[in-house]
């Protein structure tokens, strides 16, 4: 034991020691100090204003301004993406501008952009209207022209109105319209316009009903899609001309046009006037086009110049907002000239923090330095492990179950090896292991490139776990060599088999089998087993016993870690009344089973271990007969049974009583219990972590807790040991799947002479291996190895009720956003 005391503390085994620190900053240097601390990223601020609403805090205005600025930045980003402008963030042009200047600039840019957008919208609307006018002129002109030319029904463009009943009527209408009188005569008049194609039919019917049939409706499709000036979409439109007479009809028709959203444009009757007007309109259209293009160009240039700075500005605004949020967590002291903050920081980081504060003092030209000192606290500190990129993934696996209590033993230290190892026990095939190795090496070698990209969620997980995958692959190769499976094919790598035929002509190999004539195969499972009829009974027995042995070892490791925890926290009660009875109980039952397994293997006895274990309980004094493995077994079994039975009340009863005795000794005579310490400092800090909490000692609660803990352990000993049999089950499943794919896909396809069938078989084999074995089985074995760690291993010693250290760090903010 002294040996363990002399060892240096192991990295990653327990959380870094943390200190609660208090910062007193003059107001002028507060902003600088907080931003430098954000760059450093090693201090977790406590929120001293937790009970205040966001609007009651000191710097709420600044936070609002930052929010407004980030809204403007988002608007810019939106506009840039809508306009399709590609921007190249220019990291070189890092002009250091401060927040107020940025604010002014942003509002200028925003105003500019909004105005440009408004203008271009108006221009666009005018453009669409003119375009429609042009179309109306074109098509309606033809109606009027043909009406003047007396042409009747020959034009295919003219769709005759079916509402005109008689030919004579129509002719008479046309005759009337032929007169070259100005259209303000009370005779035939017309209205021309353009309407959406979808509404055209209803429009016609409405007009007919309104004018009681006294109208003539001509229409022609516009032929191309036109942008509707109102809705801004491209729709099919139809040009129409309505001939009517009378003022009332005119007003009715105009109202109906308005209701249907049809745009009316006046078309002159004479041909040359039409031509002139068309010419004018075309000129104006080309002018407008040029103006619109120039406007878009100008706007895109403005957007591009904004876009190059956008990334820098966004980061700056985010940082400022974070700084102000943090400043909101601080308190003003009595003199109102200083801000007081509290936070947790790792003890090793204190010099770095002091330096950052020193820089802040210098850069803010403050006369007074920042005060930085320790406080003691009764609160439990956050847990902080300094992980590198290798240990980070394993630590996250453990944290997913629960963050370690402060200075509790960290199972991640052992999980680095045991997790990939247990995975490999369930995955053991060195062919598949090589594939996994290849995959993980690809991820690791392209670390830098993949790290800077944004990956999909699946790739993100695979990238985060690349070192886990590497270890899993290496152990899988090792276990594959031991199980002697390369895509389920055994090899004779380590020498000759230990089995041969009984007689020279191998006549009874199918009945009595081979015989072992030399030492066992030096490394791994003998290749002669593969494909034999007795393969499964042998392998099942081997793997089941292997699972029990591995399980008992891992559980013992867990209990031993609880011993080290108890020693570190100077808790002798835990050692005497928890660790020792737990070890005794587990090992007198399942440790003894492991011993029996090893003895049976070494002696080659035919004893039935199920029988031995069961009758150890049912009939401990009975004679063992042919199940005797060693001399004195019966006596040993009786002793172990008694030890196990004694261990149960040992772990159940003494501890609560001892705790109660300790409690009464500590607070002897104080019938009131502990008061909160009223001797606080003169500058009374609210909500400081120094408040002592008065804890009640409730005996019944403690007793019930201990009972639950003990029952859980005792029953869990059996169930957890059995749970390790999943190592056998998954390994068997993997092996069988692999065999099936090999024999029924590859060998079957290879049996044919046809090259097409061979290639198809190879391809199907490759896909089946990749998807079923490499992906599904990997995930499955990963999950079960994880469960074994979380429940069976960590359940023996881990509390996992701590909270993680989350420092105020700009880097972490950036990661969180993504």
């Amino acid at each position: 034991m002294k040996f363990f005391n002399d060892l240096p503390p192991m990295d990653h085994f327990r959380s870094e020691s943390m200190s609660l620190v208090q910062l007193i900053m003059p107001v002028e240097s507060a902003h600088h100090a907080v931003s430098y601390l954000g760059e450093l990223g090693l201090l977790q601020f406590k929120d001293l204003n937790g009970d205040k609403s966001p609007f009651q805090r000191t710097f709420v205005n600044q936070v609002k301004r930052c929010g407004e600025m980030s809204r403007k930045l988002r608007f810019f980003a939106d506009q840039i993406s809508k306009a399709g402008v590609t921007t190249f963030p220019n990291p070189d042009s890092e002009e250091v501008i401060d927040l107020e200047q940025l604010e002014i600039r942003l509002s200028e840019h925003e105003g500019e952009l909004l105005e440009m957008n408004r203008n271009s919208e108006k221009l666009q609307q005018t453009y669409s209207e003119l375009l429609e006018f042009k179309l109306v002129l074109l098509k309606a002109g033809r109606f009027l022209g043909s009406a003047q030319n007396h042409l009747v029904m020959a034009e295919t463009e003219l769709v005759e109105n079916i509402y005109s009943i008689k030919n004579e009527d129509r002719l008479s209408l046309l005759e009337q319209s032929m007169q070259p009188e100005p259209s303000n005569k009370a005779g035939l008049r017309f209205i021309s316009g353009i309407i959406c194609k979808s509404k055209e039919l209803t429009f016609e019917r409405m007009l007919f009903r309104a004018t009681r049939g006294n109208m003539f409706f001509n229409q022609a499709p516009a032929g191309e899609q036109v942008m509707d000036p109102v809705s801004g979409e491209m729709v099919h439109k139809t040009v129409f001309v309505v001939f009517f007479s009378g003022d009332q009809a005119r007003s009715k028709i105009l109202r109906i046009c308005q209701a249907f959203g049809a745009n009316c444009y006046p078309v002159p009757e004479e041909n040359n006037k039409q031509r002139q007007l068309t010419h004018e309109v075309s000129l104006r259209l080309s002018e407008l086009e040029a103006t619109l293009d120039a406007g878009t160009c100008h706007r895109n240039k403005a957007l591009a110049s904004i876009g190059s700075q956008l990334w820098n500005w966004t980061i700056m605004v985010k940082k400022e907002k974070a700084v102000y949020d943090t400043l909101n967590m601080l308190n003003f002291d009595v003199t109102k000239k200083c801000l007081v903050g509290e936070g947790w920081c790792p003890t090793f980081a204190k010099p770095q923090i002091k330096e950052a504060l020193h820089h802040a003092t210098i850069h803010s030209n403050s006369q007074v330095g920042i005060i930085f000192h320790d406080m003691d606290s009764s609160e439990s500190p956050p847990t902080y492990f300094r992980t590198n990129r290798f240990t980070n993934a394993f630590q996250e696996i453990v944290d997913a179950y629960g963050v370690a209590r402060f200075q509790e033993a960290n199972p991640a230290v052992y999980s680095v090896i045991t997790f990939p190892f247990l995975f490999a026990v369930m995955f053991g095939d060195w062919g598949h292991g090589l594939c996994l190795l290849f995959g993980s090496l690809v991820l690791i070698l392209r670390e830098k490139k993949l790290g800077s990209q944004k990956l999909g969620s699946f790739m993100e997980m695979a990238y985060g776990g690349r070192y886990v995958l590497l270890l899993m692959a290496l152990f899988s190769i090792y276990c594959g060599l031991i199980y002697n499976e390369f895509f389920s094919v055994p090899f004779y790598i380590f020498g000759e088999s230990a089995y041969k035929c009984r007689n020279a002509d191998c006549s009874d190999v199918h009945t009595a089998g081979l015989i072992k004539y030399r030492d066992p195969y030096p490394f791994g499972v003998d290749p002669k087993w593969r494909g034999s009829r007795s393969e499964l009974p042998f392998l099942n027995s081997l793997k089941m016993k292997m699972s029990i042995l591995l399980g008992v070892s891992q559980m013992n490791l867990g209990i031993i870690l609880s011993y080290f925890d108890a020693k570190f926290h100077a808790n002798p009660l835990d050692i005497q009344y928890q660790f020792i009875p737990q070890m005794i109980f587990l090992n007198s039952l399942f440790g003894y089973l492991a011993l029996l397994i090893v003895i049976k293997w070494c002696t080659g006895s035919q004893a039935d271990l199920y029988h031995v274990m069961i009758y150890m309980f049912l009939d401990p004094f009975g004679d063992l007969g042919e199940n005797q493995l060693f001399w004195g077994q019966k006596e040993l079994q009786i002793l172990l049974l008694i030890l196990a039975i004694v261990a149960v009340p040992w772990m159940l009863f003494p501890k609560p009583f001892m705790l109660k005795k300790q409690q009464t000794e500590r607070f002897q005579g104080r019938t009131y219990g502990i008061l909160g310490t009223s001797e606080m400092d003169v500058d009374h800090e609210p909500d400081s972590a120094r408040h002592q909490h008065h804890e009640d000692f409730n005996f019944s609660e403690v007793f019930v807790h201990q009972m639950i803990h003990s029952i859980e352990f005792v029953l869990g000993a059996v169930s957890n040991t059995a749970s390790y049999l999943r190592l056998w089950a998954l390994s068997l499943a993997h092996s069988e799947l692999s065999t099936v794919f090999y024999e029924k896909l590859l060998l079957l396809a290879w049996g044919y002479d046809n090259i097409v069938i061979r290639i198809t078989g190879l391809v199907v084999f490759a896909f089946a291996t990749a998807f079923v074995l490499l992906m599904m089985e990997t995930l499955s074995a990963l999950l079960h190895a994880l469960r074994l760690h979380w429940v069976e291993f960590m359940g023996k010693f881990y509390h996992g009720d701590g909270y993680k250290f989350r420092p105020f760090s700009f880097k972490l903010l950036a990661d969180e956003e993504d």
């Binding site: 192991m10 990295d11 034999s532 081997l542 016993k545």
Partner: protein, 70 residues
């Protein structure tokens, strides 16, 4: 090679691995202890796996009975 010889080989491999890790990445006593723990755990796991499979085949109760196809 027998059981004990191979066990000694595993032990020596573990020693070699820890020595090489100490030589190549010597970063202070606590980190060294961490690396040593990893190597010891790996060696023990690998040795256990091998030893279990070896012992199971030492004095087998059943022998391979070849199937008809072979």
């Amino acid at each position: 090679m027998g059981f004990w010889m191979t066990t000694i080989v595993f032990f020596l491999l573990g020693l070699v691995a820890s020595a090489s890790v100490r030589l190549c990445c010597n970063r202070g006593p606590s980190t060294n202890l961490f690396h040593l723990t990893l190597i010891i755990t790996a060696t023990i796991c690998c040795w256990m796996m091998w030893a279990i499979v070896y012992l199971a085949q030492l004095k087998p109760l059943i022998v391979p009975i070849l199937s008809e196809g072979e």
